[in-house]
């Protein structure tokens, strides 16, 4: 691989990986509280469309980001009402959220189909731009969400493993009965995890439409929500390990874009398959260890609290 290609892939890996990382972090929080949200794909789509629509209508990408985060939280709380409040099946409820996201994002996004937006401003520290090998690439020329991605991952890890709230959250995911007996409000903790995870999922979608493509297209997340769910398994429900997973998958996507841009002979359709095939391989290799690492009560409904 030539140096410019390598640098291009690296720069692209960080950009593409940002959205995956936020989505993975959101799902990690939710799964740590014992809930699987298969609707992440729909939440991301909703974030992408709401973020884009608000940005196009008001001309302010920050407002768009805020709206995307709020939409994600709202969607996840609706999901929470089903699985926590009504104790409905989590997989079926997740798929319902996926359908909802498919439809609602199309409804919200369509009027802004051809809109042109400035998107999130990008910024590179001056001294980095001085370096010759950086100047010719998009390396380090990132928007705020990308700059904050790794700090947010560390923050989520800190909250999960170093705070009382995180301890309670993980306790609910491992054994809601024990957490309940210890005086924790299991339902409240799960709703809180879902709201926080929804904000992250909405931002993940918004990063795609506000920074990566700067357009709205139906189904534009293209399965990234499902890839993020696989990344949670790959990262063993650990936010810091998720950074590596997001970079790996971002890299796969970036490599594909770079090869297309450079007129590679390989069919773009074959290249587009790479992230999905890679995800399947990751699941194959790491999926077996699932039972050792997953929160013990993941996907189970807790009936004891009322």
């Amino acid at each position: 691989m030539t140096t410019p290609l390598l640098l291009g892939v690296l720069a692209g890996a960080v950009l593409s990986g940002t959205s995956l990382l936020y989505a993975t972090l959101g799902e990690t929080l939710v799964e740590r509280s014992g809930i699987v949200n298969l609707g992440l794909e729909g939440v991301m789509l909703l974030g992408a469309s709401v973020g884009f629509a608000v940005t196009a209508a008001r001309g302010n990408p920050w407002l768009g980001l805020a709206a995307a985060g709020a939409a994600g939280a709202g969607a996840n709380l609706l999901f929470g009402w089903l699985v926590v409040g009504r104790k409905a099946n989590q997989l079926a409820s997740g798929l319902a959220m996926m359908f909802f996201g498919f439809g609602a994002s199309a409804l919200v996004g369509t009027p802004y189909g051809g809109a042109v937006i400035a998107g999130l401003p990008k910024w590179r520290p001056g001294w980095l731009g001085e370096l010759a090998w950086v100047r010719s690439t998009t390396l380090f020329n990132y928007d705020l969400l990308t700059w904050l991605a790794i700090p947010v991952a560390v923050l989520v890890a800190w909250v999960l493993f170093r705070t009382r709230w995180g301890l309670g959250l993980r306790a609910v995911g491992e054994s809601p009965a024990a957490a309940y007996a210890a005086g924790r409000n299991t339902a409240a903790l799960q709703y809180q995890a879902l709201a926080a995870g929804g904000v992250l999922g909405g931002l993940a979608g918004a990063h795609l439409s506000l920074s990566l493509t700067r357009t709205w297209a139906e189904f534009m997340t293209g399965g990234r929500g499902f890839i993020a769910i696989a990344l949670v398994i790959f990262s063993k429900w650990n936010p810091v390990r998720a950074i590596a997973g997001a970079l790996l998958f971002g890299g796969a996507e970036a490599l594909q874009l770079q090869m297309q841009a450079r007129g590679s002979n390989v069919s773009p359709f074959i290249l587009e398959m790479v992230p999905y095939v890679l995800t399947l391989l990751v699941l194959l290799v790491w999926g077996g260890s699932r039972r050792l690492n997953a929160p013990a009560s993941l996907g189970r409904t807790f009936y004891g609290s009322n």
Partner: protein, 349 residues
Amino acid sequence: MPEPMPAPRSYLARHPAQAAALRHAAIGAAALAAFGLILLLAGKDPVRAYKDTFTYSVADWYGFSELLVRMTPLLLTAVAVALPSRLGLINVGGEGQLHMGAFFASAGAILFPGLPAWLLLPLVALLGFTGGALWAALPGLLRAARLVNETITTLLLNYISPLIISFFIFGPWRSRESSAYPQTSRFPEGALLPNFFNTRIHAGLLVALAGLLAYWVLMEKTRWGLEMRAIGGNGEAAQRLGLPVAGWIVAALALGGGLAGLAGMGEVMGIHGRLRQSLSPGFGFTGFLIAWLAGGRPLGILFMAFLFAIITAAGDTLQVTQGLPYAVINILLAMILFIVLARRPGGAR
């Protein structure tokens, strides 16, 4: 002291079938109302949308025939979900299996164009079944080996098979006479399914009904069905009883996937006559909803498939008369699911 009089039982309590029908109607009405409210908020006219759907689909012969056309793949993708669900397996990959079936069937028509129809048609159907079956057997194998849950793998495979089709129709199979549009040339007549009544209703409908019947016979009348239901009831017990649990997991998913593959074969050989993109507006996902709402019961699937054919026709109406994308109809599907999920507490199916 005389016994207290038992409370008089209401009409509905004495007639569970009528009560169920009323319940379903109420759920449908609530979902339609919720979806209508969302359309209203989006500045559209829900009453007109519902009225147009009725006028152009149910009350019109051609429209009605189109409902049966739409029902054809829905029946098959629904059974593709219902069959594995009897073992407690969740197949969300109908979409990918449908595309794989379409791809394999097309390969048959392209590789053996000279075969007579009596040979080519069964071959194409068999290939369609095989394509879908292989695409579902893979998650089945991974699940049976206790490596990966089938839900996430079937979902991911949905994204791969349309890309395989794109690769071929943009590449080696691309028709020379219609180079503006990425698709294959028209398949030989011998590979195409016959149409009926001068409509687009094709022999795939008979295949779908046969598939539904076979599903019922397999599940209710054979030892195999009993074994599968036993595994679904208590996998641990079935294992200890000596039932081949892993084998049945792969077989049930493969059988289901094969039926979804037949749906893809039907779309290609019965409707389009060639392989192209956008074969399915989410038939696989809609099939999942149908099977889930019908609780896997064959008659329920038949009824729900018809109902969902109408709902997806409403999606077309929205697109044509209200300038909304077809995908918006997913909101209505979600509303129905939300209501059913919220009503069935305790995670019960």
